[in-house]
């Protein structure tokens, strides 16, 4: 009996270790159906999806704002999508951790940029950072350029009018 108990506890720890290792180490592959998957995963809830790249200087300022926001309001759902490639996963993960965002849902582009861009928003031209605020019914507001923390706070407080956000 003791042995079985030990077996189960070790198994649980091993599984925790495996899933933990995955959550931190590898962002998910963003493919053509991933955008729909993200919407599905966030059904009936408001969330913010931010597209960014390791090659984009303003994106670092954006990650800083998001990191601070996430520390303060971990209950609000953020989704980060890097437009780099899977071969840059290590660099992406390192940066994400540096800005305190390692527990946020992470994706990395893993198909042609044009196709993935189009699957998210045909009206987005690829400028970064690019943010999409999704209300509970998944109507969305798109913003190009760095966000301010106040906008995030007001959006999640459903105070869209005061956030200065408008569709592009």
């Amino acid at each position: 009996m003791k042995k079985i108990k030990l077996f189960y506890s070790v198994l649980v720890w091993a599984l925790v270790f495996i899933s933990g290792a995955h959550a931190v180490q590898q962002p998910s592959h963003f493919k053509l159906d991933s955008y729909q998957q993200i919407l599905q995963q966030n059904k009936q809830q408001s969330f913010l999806m931010v597209l960014w790249s390791i090659d984009c200087a303003p994106c670092m300022k954006e990650l800083k704002v998001l990191g601070e926001f996430h520390q303060q309001y971990p209950q609000h759902k953020l989704v980060l999508v890097s437009t780099d490639s899977m071969s840059q996963s290590n660099e992406i993960t390192q940066l994400i951790a540096q800005y305190g965002l390692k527990n946020v849902n992470q994706w990395v582009f893993d198909d042609s940029f044009q196709h993935l861009r189009y699957s998210i928003d045909p009206g987005w031209y690829g400028e970064l950072p690019r943010s999409y605020f999704y209300k509970q019914d998944h109507s969305r507001l798109a913003v190009s350029g760095k966000l301010h923390q106040q906008q995030l706070i007001q959006f999640f407080a459903q105070d869209i009018k005061n956030s200065g956000l408008k569709t592009l």
Partner: protein, 403 residues
């Protein structure tokens, strides 16, 4: 204890397997990924092409940490064996707005430049090398920026004149670093240049043209009567990213900066979308760019007249099909524009043509399609005009678009 070890081993195997499968799906084109594979244009990133006076097409491209140069004497059907420019591998910026550049003089002289990425994010050095024996050997590359701090010196443009003077211009963050060190804010980067009057053997001290350029769009430099003209995306006010042009007043000095576009795109973002320019022999400049302001967006063409006045810019391309990355070339009064579009399934290359120096334009034509391709570029051998397009499926293509 044995059970514990067995489970740990099992867990480890699972983790290893999981990470292998990640790697597998990340390797899109296995034959083109490894430094052990022989360098090939087929797998090259972001090639640049130029014709010399003998109708030879020269290419510079990056592969596995090296810049290579090769040529074709039959309009891109067969290429010579590539010659390595930098013998020691280094991180080369070769994607989208960044690519090795190549220009060819009239005395078997070839000049190559690129941006070497440094370890710290958004930093780099401008690298330069030349060949004086028709591309058989290249000089040991040098760093052209004289600020050697780990800072942003990137997005270089390269041009030569008929006298053999070599000019380089780039986006430089030395001022920004200094300002930030003092606790001050600095928008964007600065535009810098240098030149060589001994065919690239030595370069003059770097000079600044202007502060606060946009920091992530390609810079373009062409010659007008042996003097450089530079076009780039600038920052006006806090974050209005419109285009500017500067013409040199003599071989050493840049003149007054002119604002070219008034689209008022206000964005604290990286557009990754630089302009292009073609300088006609009569002094007319043909300019093209992209902007994305709410009420003024898409691709634009404008003409700068000999007297430095600008014609009103016109929109072209299908904004709803993501018309992007325009390129322009003129031959006398004939002007060609090429750009890229995407219809949701395929990327396509489009061309529009003017016979009267950009006053009126014929209908746009679709030239080619592919799943995934580079930006399109116009090149001319003086007789004919071609579009170069590198695609993942077909590699390098040269398409004639004029008689």
């Amino acid at each position: 204890m044995k059970i514990f070890l067995a489970i740990l081993l099992l867990a480890k195997a699972f983790i290893c397997q999981a990470s292998v499968s990640h790697n597998k799906s990340a390797a899109v084109n296995v034959n083109c990924m490894g430094p052990s594979q022989p360098a090939s244009l087929r797998c090259a990133q972001a090639p640049s092409a130029v014709f010399d006076q003998n109708n030879r097409l020269w290419l510079a491209w990056a592969y596995a940490g090296h810049v290579y140069v090769n040529y074709s004497d039959d309009l891109g059907k067969i290429f010579s064996a590539p010659v390595v420019v930098n013998r020691t591998p280094e991180a080369i910026s070769a994607r989208g707005e960044n690519r090795p550049k190549i220009v060819v003089g009239k005395k078997n002289d070839i000049y190559v430049s690129w941006t070497k990425s440094l370890e710290k994010r958004f930093t780099g050095h401008i690298r330069f090398s030349y060949s004086s024996d028709g591309g058989e050997r290249f000089s040991e590359p040098v760093i052209v920026n004289d600020d050697l701090n780990v800072s942003g010196h990137r997005f270089e443009a390269l041009a030569i004149n008929d006298k053999g003077d070599v000019y380089l211009s780039w986006l430089d963050k030395r001022e920004r670093d200094r300002a930030e060190k003092d606790g001050n804010k600095y928008h964007g980067a600065a535009l810098y240049y240098t030149w060589s009057d001994d065919a690239g053997k030595t370069f003059k001290a770097n000079r600044k043209i202007i502060d606060h350029s946009c920091e992530c769009c390609r810079v373009v430099m062409k010659m007008d009567e042996q003097l450089p003209v530079i076009l780039w995306r600038n920052i006006y006010g806090k974050n209005t990213r419109d285009h500017s042009l500067v013409k040199f007043i003599d071989k050493e000095q840049a003149g007054k900066v002119e604002r070219v576009s008034f689209d008022n795109w206000q964005v604290d973002a990286c557009p990754h979308h630089g302009p292009d320019m073609s300088v006609a022999e009569n002094g007319v400049y043909h300019l093209t760019w992209f902007d994305n302001a709410a009420d003024h967006h898409g691709l634009f063409y404008a003409r700068r007249n000999q007297n430095a006045t600008y014609e009103k810019s016109i929109n072209f391309g299908d904004y709803n099909a993501a018309a992007s990355h325009p390129n322009v070339l003129n031959k006398g009064d004939k002007v060609w524009l090429v750009w890229k579009q995407f219809d949701g399934k395929q990327e396509s290359i489009w061309m529009q043509h003017s016979n009267d120096a950009g006053v009126s334009w014929l209908k746009p034509e679709k030239l080619a399609m592919a799943k995934n391709g580079d930006y399109p570029f116009l090149v001319s051998n003086g007789l004919q005009v071609f579009v170069q397009w590198q695609t993942v499926d077909n590699g390098f293509q040269l398409m004639p678009i004029s008689e």
